[in-house]
């Protein structure tokens, strides 16, 4: 697998990093990916993009059976319709993202002008608003359908999130997402890393936790539990609810920075959404 080695970035590490113990993003990513590869030696690296099914053969069989005619196909169809339907001003999402919307591989990115992480969902809604339309709601429904269509047309694009070195705020956003990932919260006192890194693949009651390597590649997802499509931020919120931590706002700074970090950790994998999950 190709790994993105950003030597220029490696040189810039240390600037604006509060703790001397902190390695830079490039080292973080290498250590993160190596951790999963040595923990799950039977999983081919690219297969981590398939979530828990990359480490659970029996569940994988059921998943493959669902993928024979996945429920998200209905979402892709609806998304295609929405994507090409005209706004009141005669334009459509295609005017923002091209005829097929195959732009998944460009997100999330650091928007220097705005000083924030730009996600694909946000970009969709900003395109709508710029054309005088109301934004979609963030977590499910039309936003999930449209991004399902766009992600589908983007399948196979490489995850290559960049943390620009010429804007220290980008590194700060990354560090914020990283801290979020490793910090315990909620009454159950779990960090994302507790379940999805340190004990990834272990049973929590009846569920095996998925590796965080590959967590951000396959969205939006049709979850059997939801019986509907949902965005990555919908899942973040669900996870926080599970550990009895108040969820943050979808597309707020916390989740956008978390997405920035988690996606960066999966650099080198392929975007493979939409997907079906349990």
């Amino acid at each position: 697998m190709k790994r993105i080695i950003q030597t220029t970035l490696a040189g810039a590490i240390g600037l604006g990093v509060a703790f001397s113990a902190l390695a830079g993003p490039v080292d973080d990513q290498a250590a993160f990916q190596k951790y999963y590869e040595s923990r799950f030696p039977n999983t081919p690296t690219e297969d981590f993009a398939n979530g828990v099914y990359s480490i659970l053969p029996e569940a994988r069989e059921q998943w493959e059976s669902i993928e024979e005619f996945p429920p998200y196909e209905l979402a892709i169809e609806n998304g295609e319709k929405l994507y090409h339907s005209k706004f009141a001003n005669g334009k459509s999402l295609a005017d923002c993202f091209g005829p097929e919307g195959a732009v998944r591989g460009q997100y999330p990115f650091w928007d220097k002008d705005r000083g924030m992480v730009m996600t694909m969902e946000r970009a969709v809604n900003e395109c709508r608003e710029a054309n005088g339309e109301k934004p979609y709601r963030w977590k499910k429904g039309k936003i999930a359908d449209v991004t399902a269509y766009m992600s589908f047309n983007s399948r196979g694009q490489e995850v290559k999130v960049e943390i620009p070195t010429d804007d220290s705020r980008a590194l700060a956003a990354y560090e914020d997402g990283k801290e979020h990932f490793y910090t315990k919260r909620g009454q159950l006192n779990f960090a994302c890393a507790d379940c999805h890194l340190l004990t990834a693949g272990n049973l929590y009651r009846a569920d095996t936790t998925s590796p965080a390597f590959g967590h951000a590649t396959s969205w939006p997802v049709f979850r059997s539990k939801w019986q509907s499509m949902g965005t990555l931020h919908r899942r973040f919120a669900g996870c926080h609810n599970n550990i009895r931590a108040n969820p943050y706002k979808a597309q707020g700074t916390e989740y956008s920075n978390l997405e920035y970090f988690v996606t960066y950790m999966s650099n080198g994998l392929e975007f493979n959404g939409p997907a079906a999950r349990k």
């Binding site: 993160f32 801290e179 490793y182 909620g186 009454q187 960090a191 890393a193």
Partner: protein
């Protein structure tokens, strides 16, 4: 680190419901828990769902005339707020231990 833990202990002592358990109306106790909850949320961005639930339950109990129950729930909420605060403080210093090297 040591100082951090001391601060937490101090914070717990100051915020302990025992410190004001006997004083004020139950409504004031609920208000105190709500205020502390908001304060912690503002300072640390940490919030627990169970705290919100305890505060809501306290308000409901008070409405229904269960003063003792409402007071108990308000104190429970305050304890949860304090635990949230402790968690945030400990985590600010320890989260990096989980980062793979």
């Amino acid at each position: 680190m040591k100082n951090g833990l001391k601060n937490i202990a101090l914070g717990l002592a100051l915020m302990s419901p025992l410190a004001f358990a006997g004083n004020g109306t139950t409504a004031a106790h609920i208000e105190a828990a709500t205020g502390a909850y908001k304060q912690v949320a503002k300072e640390t961005s940490y919030q627990w769902t169970v705290t919100v639930q305890a505060i809501k339950a306290a308000k409901k109990a008070l409405e229904q005339g269960d003063d003792a129950g409402a007071r108990r729930l308000a104190h429970e909420a305050m304890n949860l707020v304090n635990a949230t605060r402790s968690q945030a403080k400990i985590e600010a210093e320890t989260w990096q231990m989980r980062v793979p090297k």
